[in-house]
């Protein structure tokens, strides 16, 4: 069995390099947690984690233009993968400044290690091109997240973790079953093999359906979104921010690859119709759900549901342009969402996350810069100029109309209309009410340069991206 002896070539190592960095780094973080003096533990863990993420980001970028593959074709590097990997790494990195409250002090090291492993799962998913790798990445991502969700003192965190575990496992079960059927249909776990369209048609259809259910769940598209608000609300703030970006980046990568590269040409459009339908449902449901929320994290959860709906809508018709725009909007979403979470982080104090909407009344008078930044991010989420959110939505509109999905464009506009109302209310509350009773006003504030740095990066990115909406054009060939 010569293949067994050297299953790894140099190309494999290169393709997997960023994944490996993030896979090994947590071990270092854990060891550091054991060896470093108590006073430095948190700082060192945070620093190591950030370093690992940055190194992985740089390493990942080195792969540009080198579509290597690993695991015998089960993992493909290249432009497409890199974009999603960078989004995931970015999401993880920018949630770090919020991580001051990630569990007790002695849990920080372990928590960050889990966060890195979770990121590792997302990186795997970004390049996964066979069912096994997909499942490996997904479970790595999810299992670490179950623990991370519980990393807060509040009972709600444990409740969130348990709910997430139960529902997510259910979805994983469905997905695994779908994978089994897909494998049964074609006799191969490679996505590319599915595209040949050989094998049983019923199995292929049912398998695709169950597989897509699993990812609809991870993307929290309506009606598979039910877990999202509770989990987002209960989980610690940095983990919520992390989930809202990293999980979605990973899941979207798989969804996009599946939609573009794995489905037989003849059936692809019809097989994907339910996905566009639930994308439409998400755009409406997410925004409508956000209307009645009184908690910022819950509200952002619903908002995220709608935002992902937009991204998925961009894929409608599986046109090359649509993929570019979906990637653009995903990146934009990552920045604006992380920015909004950054503001929530800024308003947080040691024992209370700044997520009650009451904390925002009159914010414009108490903390004008935080309020201004929040306003900017909310405008972006609502899709108003001059933000990347506006540009992204415009492009998605254009591409979905172009691909013949005018009704999706219509739903998008309707969803946006509702969402403007959602965000305008918060902006109004921030500026209209002078009386803020939030105790945060009285408490002496520590300077928070790291959080401001994160928020600043996001703000600049959201602004600049509004004018340079160019997704790299060479990513598409590497989907397949």
């Amino acid at each position: 069995m010569p293949t067994l002896i050297a299953p790894f070539g140099n190309a494999d190592w290169l393709a997997l390099a960023p994944v490996l960095v993030v896979a090994v780094a947590p071990l270092v973080v854990l060891l550091a947690d054991l060896l470093v003096p108590r006073a430095l533990r948190r700082t060192s863990a945070l620093a190591l984690t950030a370093l690992a993420l940055i190194v992985a980001g740089i390493v990942s970028l080195q792969g540009w233009g080198h579509p290597f593959s690993a695991f015998g074709g089960g993992f493909q590097a290249g432009g497409f993968t890199i974009v999603f990997q960078e989004v995931a790494l970015l999401g993880a990195l920018l949630s770090l400044p919020l991580a001051g409250r990630l569990g007790r002090d002695d849990q920080t090291g372990g928590g960050l290690a889990l966060l890195l492993w979770s990121t590792c799962g997302a990186l795997l998913m970004a390049g996964a091109s066979n069912l096994l790798t997909i499942f490996l990445g997904l479970e790595l991502l999810s299992l670490a997240l179950y623990c991370l969700c519980a990393l807060a003192a509040a009972p709600s965190a444990r409740e969130a973790a348990l709910k997430y575990l139960i529902l997510s496992s259910t979805a994983s079960g469905f997905m695994l079953y779908g994978m089994a059927l897909l494998f049964g249909a074609t006799g191969s776990a490679q996505l590319a093999a599915l595209a040949t369209g050989s094998g049983s048609h019923v199995l292929l259809a049912l398998g695709s359906g169950l597989f897509l259910v699993g990812f609809a769940f991870k993307l929290s598209l309506v009606p598979f979104h039910v877990w999202t608000p509770d989990v987002y609300e209960g989980a610690p703030l940095p983990i919520t921010a992390f989930m809202s970006v990293v999980t979605k980046a990973g899941a979207l990568a798989v969804l996009a690859r599946f939609a573009y590269a794995a489905l037989p040409q003849a059936d692809a459009q019809a097989l994907l119709i339910p996905i566009w339908v639930i994308a439409a449902l998400s755009m409406i449901g997410g925004n409508v759900g956000a209307l009645a929320q009184t908690d910022m994290k819950r509200l952002l959860a619903y908002s995220g549901i709608a935002q992902v709906g937009y991204v998925v809508a961009a894929l409608a018709g599986t046109t090359p342009l649509g993929l570019r725009y979906a990637m653009f909007y995903l990146v934009a979403y990552a920045f604006m969402n992380l920015g909004a979470f950054g503001i929530v982080g800024l308003l947080s104090r040691d024992h209370e996350e700044g997520s009650r909407l009451t904390a925002y009344a009159g914010l414009g008078h108490r903390r004008p810069f935080a309020a201004a930044a929040m306003t900017f991010f909310l405008l972006a989420l609502a899709g108003l100029p001059p933000t990347a959110g506006f540009t992204g939505k415009l492009l998605i509109l254009a591409s979905s109309v172009d691909a013949g999905y005018g009704w999706l464009a219509g739903v998008l506009i309707a969803g946006t209309a509702i969402s403007i109302y959602v965000y305008a209310k918060i902006i109004y509350a921030m500026y209209a009410r002078r009386t803020g009773t939030a105790p945060e006003a009285q408490a002496a504030r520590r300077p928070e340069p790291l959080r401001w740095l994160g928020v600043g990066i996001c703000a600049v990115a959201v602004f600049v991206m509004a004018f340079y909406p160019l997704a790299p054009s060479d990513v598409l060939p590497q989907v397949k």
Binding site: A205, P274, G289, K425
Partner: protein
């Protein structure tokens, strides 16, 4: 350079907004400095603009025919000159005018923001940028009309202006959509290149949409009603936004889209007619106003009517020239009126003025020069431009519009001279009780001490307000001479060949397809002058002759009380809009208000639109927090999926 030109005012606005309290008095200086620097940059770029096909600065280029960039061509350069030049002078003037106002810094932040927005509008090389600028100037205008937001009338006026402008924005969007659908691009160059090959109906539709926008922004019938009300803003605002620049955006748009209008005779006829009717209506309504700023507002409306008529019928150079001269003399008039208002402690009613020539000689001379320019006194700037517009209609084959333009010129002379005479001649009537003059009680609570309260405390030096006006008087007199000097010789004037002004209108140089007019130009000029003379003479007889001055109080009272009601009600435009749009809308709104909880968010969310809120609550009811409930939803979703996929798999 062009970026600096564009963004400097914005940077100024940001700086003033952020550091207003620290800057204190310097806010005004900073605002003026940034705008004047932009002006200097525009001057520096002028040579480059004239020699080539304009200065281009691509910003962003997207796929699918979206590309955004800046374009400084001769046409936009002319607007940039006026926006930054006249705008800069008005900024300087405002430092004096607004000194003592509590929100001094805020005022300049808004003004700078307006200049930026206006520059965005004229510098954009595509329709989307135009739309953005269009919306932003509307926003700036809204802020500035409602600047003294403690005055209910100012808030109402601001809202009215905003609402009507939104109607215009929708028209603009409609036009852009039509063009985009037909040409798949939004850049001027791209759209105009295909203008000739489009279906006539498409072009007419697009032109119609664009013209709705023009009508709203440039106060054309029937969307003009906001402009007189907009005079609630501070006087420098009226001078800059509601006279010199923003309201002429419509003229800019039509001139910019000349290739479209060229291929649509229907659109030309529509625009020309509306322009002429607006000119006439504005002039007629100006005859019965007593508020000095409202007189000027109606005159602005009337003059823009001229411009629109000019560019509408195809006499682009004439219309643009009139914009150019009008910016100077109307700014002079407004700023002169501002000096009066300032000096008279916010008195704006000309009936309570009178005899001010001796008390305010500077304002008197400024207003006199402005008035002579606007009525077209031979040799002053308005003479050339107005004559060019009026004769242009004839040249392009619209004799009816020509007649309206002539009549309007006469009426203009009458009401402007009326304003001048009542204000400056006779004896001062400020002490005469209002009732004796027929002045109706004001609906506003007295706010004099909240408003530009420059009178108490430190007065800004008078030169701050006088120097800008003096500088504006010069072009008010001589700006028209750019029309002189054509290829046919230094004294022949007018036409596409004019050397100086021709620089600005190179876009239109090849476009003159004037027909031979029945009346020679010299005769036309004489006729117009005769009408102007008659108008001025009538005004003189009624308001300035010794008989009129003798019992001025009596006569003004009689005139106030017996004025023809349709005219004092502004021809019922407001009432018609009220009846047709506002009443039904507010009825619907009231019906909704009964259903919708009118409370607005107080931390918790109450202000929820009815349907959406209901849905939201229903969804929250689903969101019970129970895992089994969630699992049920997920499983139902899965079932839905499976049904579809099973069906699909077996059917195929």
């Amino acid at each position: 350079m062009i970026f600096a030109l564009w963004l400097l005012p914005f940077a100024g606005a940001l700086a003033i907004w952020a550091f207003g309290p620290q800057l204190k008095r310097l806010a005004g200086a900073l605002g003026a400095a940034t705008v004047l620097t932009s002006f200097a940059i525009a001057l520096a770029l002028a040579g480059q603009t004239f020699t080539g096909r304009g200065v281009k600065a691509p910003l962003v280029s997207w796929a699918q025919g979206f590309s955004f960039g800046l374009l400084l061509d001769p046409l936009s350069l002319l607007w940039v000159f006026v926006i930054t030049g006249v705008g800069g002078l008005i900024h300087v003037y405002s430092i004096g005018y607004m000194s003592g106002d509590r929100a001094f810094a805020r005022f300049f932040a808004y003004m700078n923001f307006f200049v930026f927005a206006m520059l965005t509008l004229v510098l954009s090389d595509n329709f989307v940028g135009l739309l953005v600028g269009w919306g932003l100037v509307g926003l700036a205008s809204y802020f500035l009309i409602g600047f003294w937001f403690f005055k209910p009338s100012a808030v109402a006026a601001a809202r009215k202006a905003f609402v009507i402008n939104v109607v215009g924005d929708i028209g603009l969007m409609f036009g852009i959509f039509v063009l985009f659908a037909a040409t798949h691009t939004t850049t001027y160059a791209g759209v105009f290149a295909k203008a000739g090959s489009l279906a006539p109906l498409t072009v007419t539709l697009a032109c119609f949409g664009l013209f709705v926008a023009c009508a709203a922004k440039s106060a054309q019938l029937p969307l003009h009603t906001w402009l007189p009300d907009a005079m609630e803003g501070p006087t420098p605002v009226s001078a800059l936004i509601h006279a010199a620049t923003m309201v002429t955006a419509g003229v800019y748009l039509i001139a910019r889209c000349a290739p479209l209008w060229d291929v649509s005779p229907e659109a030309r006829a529509l625009v020309g007619t509306i322009g002429a009717l607006t000119a006439l209506t504005g002039a007629v309504l100006g005859c019965v106003q007593w508020d000095i700023k409202r007189i000027l507002a109606y005159s602005t409306m009337s003059q823009i009517g001229y411009m629109i008529m000019g560019v509408g019928v195809g006499a682009y150079q004439a219309g643009i020239l009139h914009f150019y001269t009008h910016a100077f003399f109307k700014a002079t008039l407004f700023l002169g009126a501002g000096i009066l208002i300032h000096a008279l402690h916010d008195e704006q009613d000309v009936r309570k003025m009178g005899g001010l020539a001796r008390r305010q000689p500077f304002a008197f001379w400024a207003m006199t020069v402005g008035t002579l320019a606007i009525i077209g006194f031979p040799g002053l700037s308005g003479f050339f431009s107005k004559d060019a517009v009026i004769y242009g209609t004839l040249e392009h084959g619209y004799p009816l519009l020509y007649a309206i333009g002539m009549v309007t010129a006469g009426i203009t002379a009458y009401y402007m001279c009326r304003m001048l005479f009542v204000t400056f001649f006779g004896s001062y009537r400020g002490d005469v009780p209002s009732a004796q003059l027929g002045v109706a009680a004001s609906t506003n609570p007295p706010v004099a001490h909240e408003a530009p309260s420059g009178h108490e405390g430190a007065h800004a030096p008078a030169w701050l307000m006088q120097v800008p006006v003096a500088l504006l008087m010069i072009p008010s007199v001589i700006a028209g001479y750019v029309w002189f000097g054509s290829r046919d010789g230094p004294l022949a004037y007018g036409g596409p060949g004019s050397l100086w002004f021709g620089y600005f209108t190179t876009n239109f140089a090849t476009r003159a397809e004037a027909v031979q007019a029945a009346v020679p130009e010299w005769l036309s000029t004489v006729l117009v002058l005769a009408l102007v003379g008659i108008g001025a003479f009538v005004a003189y007889r009624r308001y300035a002759a010794s008989a009129a001055s003798a019992n001025a109080v009596e006569r003004l009272r009689a005139e106030s009380l017996t004025a023809w009601r349709p005219l004092t009600r502004a021809l019922y435009f407001d009432d018609a809009i009220e009846l047709v749009f506002v009443r039904p809308a507010s009825a619907i709104g009231a019906a909704f208000a009964r259903v919708v909880d009118p409370q607005v968010l107080d931390g918790a969310v109450r202000d929820v639109a009815w349907l959406a809120g209901w849905l939201g609550r229903e969804m929250r009811a689903l969101q019970t927090g129970l895992v089994r409930g969630y699992a049920l939803v997920v499983v139902l979703g899965v079932a839905g999926f499976l049904v579809y996929f099973a069906w699909f798999g077996t059917v195929r």
